[in-house]
Protein backbone atom coordinates (compact mmCIF):
# COMPACT_ATOMS: atom_id res chain seq x y z
CA UNK A 1 0.00 0.00 0.00
CA UNK A 2 0.95 3.60 -0.25
CA UNK A 3 3.04 5.29 2.32
CA UNK A 4 1.64 8.81 2.38
CA UNK A 5 4.04 11.66 3.07
CA UNK A 6 4.44 15.42 2.92
CA UNK A 7 7.07 17.18 0.92
CA UNK A 8 7.90 20.61 2.27
CA UNK A 9 10.21 23.14 0.67
CA UNK A 10 11.53 25.24 3.50
CA UNK A 11 13.44 27.45 1.09
CA UNK A 12 10.13 28.66 -0.35
CA UNK A 13 8.24 29.13 2.90
CA UNK A 14 7.60 32.76 3.76
CA UNK A 15 6.06 32.02 7.16
CA UNK A 16 2.64 33.36 6.17
CA UNK A 17 0.77 30.60 8.03
CA UNK A 18 -1.91 30.22 5.39
CA UNK A 19 -1.47 26.47 5.85
CA UNK A 20 -2.10 26.78 9.59
CA UNK A 21 -5.28 28.80 9.10
CA UNK A 22 -6.55 26.65 6.22
CA UNK A 23 -6.30 23.66 8.55
CA UNK A 24 -7.99 25.50 11.41
CA UNK A 25 -10.85 26.42 9.15
CA UNK A 26 -11.40 22.94 7.74
CA UNK A 27 -11.33 21.33 11.17
CA UNK A 28 -12.97 24.13 13.14
CA UNK A 29 -10.15 24.26 15.62
CA UNK A 30 -10.36 26.46 18.69
CA UNK A 31 -7.66 28.84 19.85
CA UNK A 32 -4.71 26.98 21.28
CA UNK A 33 -5.12 23.96 19.01
CA UNK A 34 -2.99 24.16 15.89
CA UNK A 35 -2.78 20.97 13.93
CA UNK A 36 -0.32 22.71 11.67
CA UNK A 37 2.30 25.06 13.05
CA UNK A 38 4.92 27.23 11.47
CA UNK A 39 8.23 27.57 13.30
CA UNK A 40 10.49 30.53 12.63
CA UNK A 41 14.19 29.94 13.12
CA UNK A 42 16.36 33.04 13.39
CA UNK A 43 20.05 33.28 14.08
CA UNK A 44 23.16 35.23 13.28
CA UNK A 45 24.40 38.53 14.55
CA UNK A 46 24.75 42.25 14.03
CA UNK A 47 28.23 43.71 14.01
CA UNK A 48 28.91 47.40 14.16
CA UNK A 49 31.59 48.77 11.89
CA UNK A 50 31.92 52.52 12.41
CA UNK A 51 28.49 53.83 11.51
CA UNK A 52 27.49 50.82 9.49
CA UNK A 53 25.82 47.62 10.53
CA UNK A 54 26.93 44.33 9.14
CA UNK A 55 24.34 41.66 9.42
CA UNK A 56 24.81 37.96 9.06
CA UNK A 57 21.34 37.31 10.32
CA UNK A 58 19.55 34.38 8.78
CA UNK A 59 16.03 33.09 9.14
CA UNK A 60 13.74 30.49 7.74
CA UNK A 61 10.49 28.74 8.49
CA UNK A 62 9.43 25.15 8.94
CA UNK A 63 5.78 24.21 8.63
CA UNK A 64 4.84 21.03 10.44
CA UNK A 65 1.66 19.20 11.12
CA UNK A 66 1.97 15.51 11.87
CA UNK A 67 4.42 13.34 10.06
CA UNK A 68 2.39 10.14 10.29
CA UNK A 69 5.57 8.35 11.18
CA UNK A 70 6.45 4.82 10.28
CA UNK A 71 7.37 4.17 13.91
CA UNK A 72 5.03 6.56 15.66
CA UNK A 73 6.13 7.19 19.21
CA UNK A 74 2.63 8.40 20.04
CA UNK A 75 1.00 5.18 18.90
CA UNK A 76 3.53 3.00 20.69
CA UNK A 77 2.97 4.74 23.99
CA UNK A 78 -0.73 5.51 24.01
CA UNK A 79 -2.25 3.63 26.98
CA UNK A 80 -5.70 3.25 25.48
CA UNK A 81 -4.70 2.29 21.94
CA UNK A 82 -6.62 5.35 20.76
CA UNK A 83 -3.97 5.95 18.12
CA UNK A 84 -3.94 3.69 15.10
CA UNK A 85 -2.20 3.72 11.76
CA UNK A 86 -4.08 3.11 8.54
CA UNK A 87 -2.76 1.01 5.71
CA UNK A 88 -1.96 4.10 3.72
CA UNK A 89 0.04 5.45 6.62
CA UNK A 90 -2.33 7.95 8.18
CA UNK A 91 -1.97 7.97 11.96
CA UNK A 92 -5.27 8.80 13.61
CA UNK A 93 -6.51 9.45 17.12
CA UNK A 94 -9.92 8.01 17.97
CA UNK A 95 -11.58 10.67 20.09
CA UNK A 96 -14.03 8.17 21.58
CA UNK A 97 -11.23 6.08 23.06
CA UNK A 98 -8.81 8.80 24.10
CA UNK A 99 -8.64 9.68 27.78
CA UNK A 100 -6.80 12.94 27.28
CA UNK A 101 -3.76 11.99 29.35
CA UNK A 102 -1.57 14.08 26.98
CA UNK A 103 1.17 11.48 26.97
CA UNK A 104 1.33 11.49 23.19
CA UNK A 105 1.87 15.24 23.30
CA UNK A 106 4.69 14.75 25.81
CA UNK A 107 6.54 12.28 23.67
CA UNK A 108 6.01 13.48 20.09
CA UNK A 109 9.09 15.40 18.98
CA UNK A 110 7.06 17.33 16.39
CA UNK A 111 4.41 18.71 18.71
CA UNK A 112 1.69 17.08 16.64
CA UNK A 113 -0.89 15.90 19.20
CA UNK A 114 -2.77 18.86 20.64
CA UNK A 115 -5.12 18.81 23.58
CA UNK A 116 -8.50 20.24 22.75
CA UNK A 117 -9.94 21.68 25.96
CA UNK A 118 -13.46 21.87 24.64
CA UNK A 119 -13.79 18.16 24.04
CA UNK A 120 -11.18 16.98 26.54
CA UNK A 121 -9.23 14.70 24.24
CA UNK A 122 -6.14 14.78 22.09
CA UNK A 123 -6.44 15.75 18.46
CA UNK A 124 -4.03 16.09 15.60
CA UNK A 125 -3.61 16.33 11.90
CA UNK A 126 -5.44 13.51 10.20
CA UNK A 127 -3.87 14.16 6.79
CA UNK A 128 -7.38 15.24 5.74
CA UNK A 129 -8.27 11.57 5.54
CA UNK A 130 -11.65 12.46 4.07
CA UNK A 131 -9.95 14.32 1.20
CA UNK A 132 -7.36 11.61 0.74
CA UNK A 133 -10.11 9.04 0.43
CA UNK A 134 -11.53 11.13 -2.40
CA UNK A 135 -8.17 11.30 -4.10
CA UNK A 136 -7.55 14.91 -3.17
CA UNK A 137 -4.66 16.56 -1.37
CA UNK A 138 -4.80 17.69 2.24
CA UNK A 139 -6.04 21.25 2.43
CA UNK A 140 -2.73 22.71 3.64
CA UNK A 141 -0.87 21.36 0.62
CA UNK A 142 -3.17 23.10 -1.83
CA UNK A 143 -3.43 26.28 0.21
CA UNK A 144 0.16 27.47 0.11
CA UNK A 145 0.58 30.70 -1.87
CA UNK A 146 4.30 29.95 -2.21
CA UNK A 147 3.59 26.40 -3.50
CA UNK A 148 5.90 25.01 -0.86
CA UNK A 149 4.14 21.67 -0.44
CA UNK A 150 3.71 18.45 -2.27
CA UNK A 151 2.00 15.28 -1.18
CA UNK A 152 1.84 11.64 -2.14
CA UNK A 153 3.60 8.37 -1.76
CA UNK A 154 6.89 8.61 0.12
CA UNK A 155 8.95 6.73 -2.44
CA UNK A 156 7.53 8.69 -5.34
CA UNK A 157 8.28 11.95 -3.58
CA UNK A 158 11.75 10.74 -2.73
CA UNK A 159 12.40 10.04 -6.36
CA UNK A 160 11.05 13.39 -7.42
CA UNK A 161 12.82 15.55 -4.85
CA UNK A 162 15.65 13.59 -3.30
CA UNK A 163 15.79 12.68 0.32
CA UNK A 164 16.10 15.13 3.12
CA UNK A 165 14.17 14.27 6.20
CA UNK A 166 15.96 16.46 8.62
CA UNK A 167 16.27 20.18 8.97
CA UNK A 168 16.99 22.02 12.15
CA UNK A 169 15.09 22.18 14.51
CA UNK A 170 13.55 18.82 13.74
CA UNK A 171 14.92 15.75 15.47
CA UNK A 172 16.84 13.08 13.63
CA UNK A 173 14.50 11.07 11.45
CA UNK A 174 15.75 7.77 12.92
CA UNK A 175 13.77 8.46 16.08
CA UNK A 176 10.28 7.98 14.65
CA UNK A 177 10.84 7.63 10.89
CA UNK A 178 8.62 10.55 9.92
CA UNK A 179 6.96 10.59 6.54
CA UNK A 180 8.19 14.00 5.54
CA UNK A 181 10.73 15.12 3.01
CA UNK A 182 12.14 18.56 3.50
CA UNK A 183 14.12 20.70 1.18
CA UNK A 184 16.14 22.76 3.61
CA UNK A 185 16.53 26.52 3.40
CA UNK A 186 20.02 27.64 2.50
CA UNK A 187 20.59 28.65 6.13
CA UNK A 188 19.49 25.35 7.65
CA UNK A 189 22.95 23.89 7.85
CA UNK A 190 24.23 26.91 9.67
CA UNK A 191 21.32 26.68 12.06
CA UNK A 192 22.12 23.05 12.74
CA UNK A 193 25.57 24.06 13.90
CA UNK A 194 24.54 27.10 15.90
CA UNK A 195 21.32 25.91 17.60
CA UNK A 196 19.46 29.20 17.39
CA UNK A 197 16.11 29.76 19.00
CA UNK A 198 12.76 29.27 17.44
CA UNK A 199 11.86 32.92 17.68
CA UNK A 200 8.09 32.71 17.45
CA UNK A 201 7.48 30.15 20.17
CA UNK A 202 4.80 32.31 21.80
CA UNK A 203 2.69 31.92 18.66
CA UNK A 204 2.87 28.16 18.90
CA UNK A 205 2.43 27.55 22.56
CA UNK A 206 -0.81 29.35 23.05
CA UNK A 207 -0.49 32.09 25.65
Amino acid sequence: MKRLAFYFDSSKCSGCKTCQIACKDKNDLPLGVNWRRVYEVTGGDWIRENNAWISDVYAYNVSLSCNHCEDPICLNNCPTNAITKREDGIVQIDADVCIGCKYCAWVCPYGAPQFNETIGVMTKCDLCADYVDEGKNPTCVDSCPMRAFDFGDYDELKEKYGEEAHAYPLPKPEVTEPNILIKPHKSAERAANENPEVSNMEEIKHA
Partner: protein, 287 residues
Protein backbone atom coordinates in the same frame (compact mmCIF):
# COMPACT_ATOMS: atom_id res chain seq x y z
CA UNK B 1 9.65 24.47 30.87
CA UNK B 2 5.99 24.15 31.55
CA UNK B 3 3.65 21.54 32.96
CA UNK B 4 2.39 22.43 36.37
CA UNK B 5 1.26 18.87 36.74
CA UNK B 6 -0.15 19.03 40.23
CA UNK B 7 -2.27 15.95 39.94
CA UNK B 8 0.67 13.89 38.77
CA UNK B 9 2.92 15.31 41.47
CA UNK B 10 0.41 14.20 44.06
CA UNK B 11 -0.25 10.91 42.33
CA UNK B 12 3.40 9.90 42.17
CA UNK B 13 4.28 11.09 45.64
CA UNK B 14 1.26 9.55 47.33
CA UNK B 15 1.87 6.31 45.41
CA UNK B 16 5.46 6.32 46.57
CA UNK B 17 4.32 7.10 50.08
CA UNK B 18 1.97 4.12 49.97
CA UNK B 19 4.68 1.84 48.69
CA UNK B 20 7.08 3.16 51.29
CA UNK B 21 4.61 2.41 54.04
CA UNK B 22 3.89 -1.01 52.58
CA UNK B 23 7.58 -1.88 52.41
CA UNK B 24 8.11 -0.56 55.90
CA UNK B 25 5.26 -2.70 57.13
CA UNK B 26 6.68 -5.76 55.34
CA UNK B 27 10.06 -5.09 56.82
CA UNK B 28 8.70 -4.71 60.33
CA UNK B 29 6.52 -7.74 59.94
CA UNK B 30 9.36 -9.95 58.81
CA UNK B 31 11.73 -8.66 61.45
CA UNK B 32 9.28 -8.83 64.32
CA UNK B 33 6.06 -10.64 63.49
CA UNK B 34 4.84 -10.57 67.07
CA UNK B 35 4.56 -6.87 67.49
CA UNK B 36 1.35 -5.71 68.96
CA UNK B 37 -0.51 -3.40 66.62
CA UNK B 38 -3.59 -2.98 68.63
CA UNK B 39 -2.19 -0.32 70.87
CA UNK B 40 -1.57 2.14 68.15
CA UNK B 41 -4.85 3.36 66.87
CA UNK B 42 -3.76 4.74 63.54
CA UNK B 43 -1.90 1.56 62.92
CA UNK B 44 -5.00 -0.56 63.29
CA UNK B 45 -4.99 -1.80 59.76
CA UNK B 46 -2.05 -0.75 57.70
CA UNK B 47 -3.60 -2.40 54.65
CA UNK B 48 -6.61 -0.12 54.82
CA UNK B 49 -4.40 2.92 55.18
CA UNK B 50 -2.40 1.87 52.14
CA UNK B 51 -5.51 1.06 50.15
CA UNK B 52 -6.93 4.42 51.08
CA UNK B 53 -3.78 6.20 49.99
CA UNK B 54 -3.55 4.26 46.73
CA UNK B 55 -7.21 4.88 46.00
CA UNK B 56 -6.78 8.56 46.69
CA UNK B 57 -3.73 8.68 44.45
CA UNK B 58 -5.64 6.98 41.69
CA UNK B 59 -8.50 9.41 41.97
CA UNK B 60 -6.15 12.37 41.90
CA UNK B 61 -4.52 11.04 38.77
CA UNK B 62 -7.91 11.15 37.08
CA UNK B 63 -7.81 14.93 37.41
CA UNK B 64 -4.95 14.86 34.96
CA UNK B 65 -7.15 13.36 32.29
CA UNK B 66 -9.23 15.31 29.81
CA UNK B 67 -11.84 12.59 29.61
CA UNK B 68 -11.71 10.58 32.85
CA UNK B 69 -14.76 8.59 31.92
CA UNK B 70 -12.65 6.62 29.47
CA UNK B 71 -10.10 5.84 32.18
CA UNK B 72 -10.75 2.08 32.25
CA UNK B 73 -9.46 1.92 28.67
CA UNK B 74 -6.03 2.97 29.86
CA UNK B 75 -4.84 -0.60 30.37
CA UNK B 76 -5.48 -1.50 26.75
CA UNK B 77 -1.93 -1.12 25.52
CA UNK B 78 -0.20 -3.18 28.21
CA UNK B 79 2.11 -4.61 25.55
CA UNK B 80 3.50 -1.28 24.40
CA UNK B 81 2.70 1.49 26.86
CA UNK B 82 4.24 1.81 30.27
CA UNK B 83 1.21 3.75 31.44
CA UNK B 84 -0.92 0.70 30.80
CA UNK B 85 1.63 -1.43 32.61
CA UNK B 86 1.67 0.99 35.49
CA UNK B 87 -2.11 1.04 35.82
CA UNK B 88 -2.22 -2.72 35.52
CA UNK B 89 0.41 -3.16 38.22
CA UNK B 90 -1.45 -0.66 40.38
CA UNK B 91 -4.59 -2.75 40.04
CA UNK B 92 -2.68 -5.92 40.87
CA UNK B 93 -1.10 -4.17 43.83
CA UNK B 94 -4.44 -2.97 45.04
CA UNK B 95 -5.94 -6.40 44.76
CA UNK B 96 -3.02 -8.09 46.50
CA UNK B 97 -3.16 -5.65 49.40
CA UNK B 98 -6.89 -6.19 49.62
CA UNK B 99 -6.32 -9.93 49.70
CA UNK B 100 -3.71 -9.36 52.38
CA UNK B 101 -6.22 -7.40 54.38
CA UNK B 102 -8.75 -10.19 54.02
CA UNK B 103 -6.17 -12.76 55.10
CA UNK B 104 -5.03 -10.84 58.13
CA UNK B 105 -8.27 -9.36 59.40
CA UNK B 106 -11.28 -11.19 58.02
CA UNK B 107 -10.51 -14.76 57.11
CA UNK B 108 -8.57 -17.16 59.22
CA UNK B 109 -5.35 -17.88 57.39
CA UNK B 110 -2.04 -19.54 58.01
CA UNK B 111 1.05 -17.40 58.58
CA UNK B 112 2.86 -18.73 55.53
CA UNK B 113 0.03 -17.49 53.30
CA UNK B 114 0.14 -14.09 54.95
CA UNK B 115 3.87 -13.91 54.46
CA UNK B 116 3.53 -15.01 50.84
CA UNK B 117 0.90 -12.39 50.21
CA UNK B 118 3.09 -9.81 51.84
CA UNK B 119 5.99 -10.73 49.58
CA UNK B 120 3.72 -10.66 46.53
CA UNK B 121 2.38 -7.26 47.51
CA UNK B 122 5.84 -5.90 48.08
CA UNK B 123 6.99 -7.18 44.71
CA UNK B 124 3.92 -5.77 43.06
CA UNK B 125 4.61 -2.41 44.64
CA UNK B 126 8.16 -2.40 43.35
CA UNK B 127 6.95 -3.31 39.88
CA UNK B 128 4.41 -0.52 40.19
CA UNK B 129 7.09 2.05 40.92
CA UNK B 130 9.31 0.57 38.24
CA UNK B 131 6.53 0.97 35.66
CA UNK B 132 5.83 4.45 36.93
CA UNK B 133 9.40 5.63 36.40
CA UNK B 134 9.55 3.95 33.02
CA UNK B 135 6.78 6.19 31.78
CA UNK B 136 9.27 9.01 31.90
CA UNK B 137 12.11 7.18 30.23
CA UNK B 138 11.31 8.47 26.76
CA UNK B 139 14.08 8.95 24.24
CA UNK B 140 12.59 12.22 23.06
CA UNK B 141 12.69 13.73 26.56
CA UNK B 142 16.39 13.90 27.45
CA UNK B 143 15.85 15.70 30.75
CA UNK B 144 13.76 12.78 32.01
CA UNK B 145 15.40 9.93 30.18
CA UNK B 146 18.30 9.71 32.63
CA UNK B 147 19.39 7.45 35.50
CA UNK B 148 18.29 10.21 37.83
CA UNK B 149 14.63 9.49 37.17
CA UNK B 150 14.49 5.96 38.55
CA UNK B 151 16.88 7.04 41.29
CA UNK B 152 14.52 9.86 42.20
CA UNK B 153 11.41 7.72 42.19
CA UNK B 154 12.92 4.92 44.22
CA UNK B 155 14.62 7.39 46.52
CA UNK B 156 11.24 8.83 47.33
CA UNK B 157 10.04 5.36 48.21
CA UNK B 158 13.10 4.83 50.36
CA UNK B 159 12.69 8.16 52.10
CA UNK B 160 9.07 7.44 52.91
CA UNK B 161 10.15 3.99 54.09
CA UNK B 162 12.71 5.51 56.43
CA UNK B 163 10.41 8.26 57.64
CA UNK B 164 7.65 5.74 58.27
CA UNK B 165 10.12 3.66 60.28
CA UNK B 166 11.03 6.79 62.13
CA UNK B 167 7.41 7.27 63.05
CA UNK B 168 6.91 3.64 63.96
CA UNK B 169 7.25 4.39 67.59
CA UNK B 170 4.99 3.56 70.41
CA UNK B 171 3.68 4.73 73.66
CA UNK B 172 4.91 1.43 74.82
CA UNK B 173 6.03 -1.90 73.57
CA UNK B 174 6.06 -2.02 69.84
CA UNK B 175 9.15 -1.56 67.81
CA UNK B 176 11.47 1.16 68.85
CA UNK B 177 11.39 1.81 72.53
CA UNK B 178 12.88 5.21 72.62
CA UNK B 179 14.95 7.37 70.50
CA UNK B 180 18.22 5.80 71.53
CA UNK B 181 17.41 2.70 69.60
CA UNK B 182 16.67 4.85 66.62
CA UNK B 183 20.33 5.67 66.35
CA UNK B 184 21.05 3.19 63.56
CA UNK B 185 18.06 4.54 61.68
CA UNK B 186 19.34 8.07 62.09
CA UNK B 187 22.70 7.09 60.65
CA UNK B 188 20.99 5.44 57.70
CA UNK B 189 18.87 8.52 57.20
CA UNK B 190 21.91 10.79 57.32
CA UNK B 191 23.73 8.68 54.77
CA UNK B 192 20.64 8.59 52.58
CA UNK B 193 20.20 12.35 52.68
CA UNK B 194 23.84 12.95 51.91
CA UNK B 195 23.53 10.70 48.88
CA UNK B 196 20.48 12.75 47.87
CA UNK B 197 22.53 15.94 48.11
CA UNK B 198 25.28 14.50 45.94
CA UNK B 199 22.79 13.11 43.42
CA UNK B 200 20.99 16.45 43.37
CA UNK B 201 24.17 18.28 42.52
CA UNK B 202 25.04 15.82 39.78
CA UNK B 203 21.60 16.02 38.31
CA UNK B 204 21.62 19.81 38.37
CA UNK B 205 24.95 19.94 36.61
CA UNK B 206 23.75 17.40 34.06
CA UNK B 207 20.65 19.43 33.31
CA UNK B 208 22.63 22.65 33.11
CA UNK B 209 24.56 21.13 30.26
CA UNK B 210 21.35 20.95 28.26
CA UNK B 211 21.11 24.63 27.47
CA UNK B 212 22.46 24.21 24.01
CA UNK B 213 20.10 21.46 23.00
CA UNK B 214 16.94 23.40 22.92
CA UNK B 215 15.00 25.53 20.55
CA UNK B 216 13.55 27.53 23.39
CA UNK B 217 16.79 28.36 25.12
CA UNK B 218 15.66 26.58 28.23
CA UNK B 219 17.76 27.28 31.23
CA UNK B 220 18.20 25.23 34.33
CA UNK B 221 20.56 27.77 35.79
CA UNK B 222 18.27 30.74 36.07
CA UNK B 223 15.00 31.73 37.60
CA UNK B 224 12.58 29.58 39.51
CA UNK B 225 14.21 26.25 38.75
CA UNK B 226 17.58 27.01 40.25
CA UNK B 227 15.85 28.81 43.13
CA UNK B 228 13.91 25.69 43.98
CA UNK B 229 17.05 23.61 43.65
CA UNK B 230 18.75 25.82 46.20
CA UNK B 231 15.83 25.56 48.59
CA UNK B 232 15.82 21.80 48.23
CA UNK B 233 19.55 21.55 48.88
CA UNK B 234 19.30 23.85 51.87
CA UNK B 235 16.53 21.73 53.37
CA UNK B 236 18.58 18.59 52.88
CA UNK B 237 21.70 20.11 54.39
CA UNK B 238 19.83 21.52 57.37
CA UNK B 239 18.16 18.15 57.88
CA UNK B 240 21.51 16.37 57.84
CA UNK B 241 22.89 18.80 60.39
CA UNK B 242 19.87 18.43 62.62
CA UNK B 243 20.04 14.67 62.39
CA UNK B 244 23.70 14.77 63.44
CA UNK B 245 22.64 16.89 66.39
CA UNK B 246 19.87 14.42 67.15
CA UNK B 247 22.30 11.53 67.01
CA UNK B 248 24.71 13.18 69.41
CA UNK B 249 22.01 14.28 71.85
CA UNK B 250 19.62 11.45 71.51
CA UNK B 251 19.16 10.86 75.25
CA UNK B 252 17.66 14.28 75.78
CA UNK B 253 15.35 14.21 72.78
CA UNK B 254 11.70 13.41 72.83
CA UNK B 255 10.64 11.31 69.91
CA UNK B 256 7.34 13.01 69.57
CA UNK B 257 8.66 16.51 69.75
CA UNK B 258 7.75 19.31 67.42
CA UNK B 259 11.25 19.33 66.06
CA UNK B 260 11.07 15.76 64.90
CA UNK B 261 7.67 16.29 63.35
CA UNK B 262 8.92 19.42 61.62
CA UNK B 263 11.89 17.48 60.29
CA UNK B 264 9.61 14.89 58.82
CA UNK B 265 7.30 17.48 57.34
CA UNK B 266 10.12 19.47 55.82
CA UNK B 267 11.59 16.37 54.26
CA UNK B 268 8.22 15.58 52.74
CA UNK B 269 8.04 19.19 51.56
CA UNK B 270 11.38 18.92 49.77
CA UNK B 271 10.04 15.81 48.08
CA UNK B 272 7.26 17.98 46.72
CA UNK B 273 9.77 20.54 45.56
CA UNK B 274 11.80 17.82 43.93
CA UNK B 275 8.86 16.32 42.13
CA UNK B 276 7.65 19.77 41.06
CA UNK B 277 11.11 20.45 39.66
CA UNK B 278 11.00 17.12 37.90
CA UNK B 279 7.88 18.08 35.98
CA UNK B 280 9.19 21.55 35.40
CA UNK B 281 12.33 20.11 33.86
CA UNK B 282 10.31 18.56 31.05
CA UNK B 283 12.15 19.23 27.87
CA UNK B 284 11.60 17.51 24.59
CA UNK B 285 13.85 17.29 21.57
CA UNK B 286 12.51 18.58 18.31
CA UNK B 287 9.89 21.29 18.33
Amino acid sequence: MHNNEWSLIFFTLISQLSVGILLMFSFVFFVNPNYNESQIIWWKSPELLILLLLGFAGLISLLHLGRPINAPKSVSNFAGSWISKEILSLIILFISIFVLYMLRWILPSPMWLVKLMLIISSLASVIFIYSMKHIYMIETIPSWNTRFTPLSFFSSVLLFFLLALFLMNDQGGVFWRNIIQLKPLIIILIIFLMIQIVLGVFQQSYLSGMEKLGIENISFTKGMYVGLFCIKMIILIVSVIYLFYLYLNSEKMDLNSMAIMSLILILIFQEFIGRFMFYQSYFRIGV
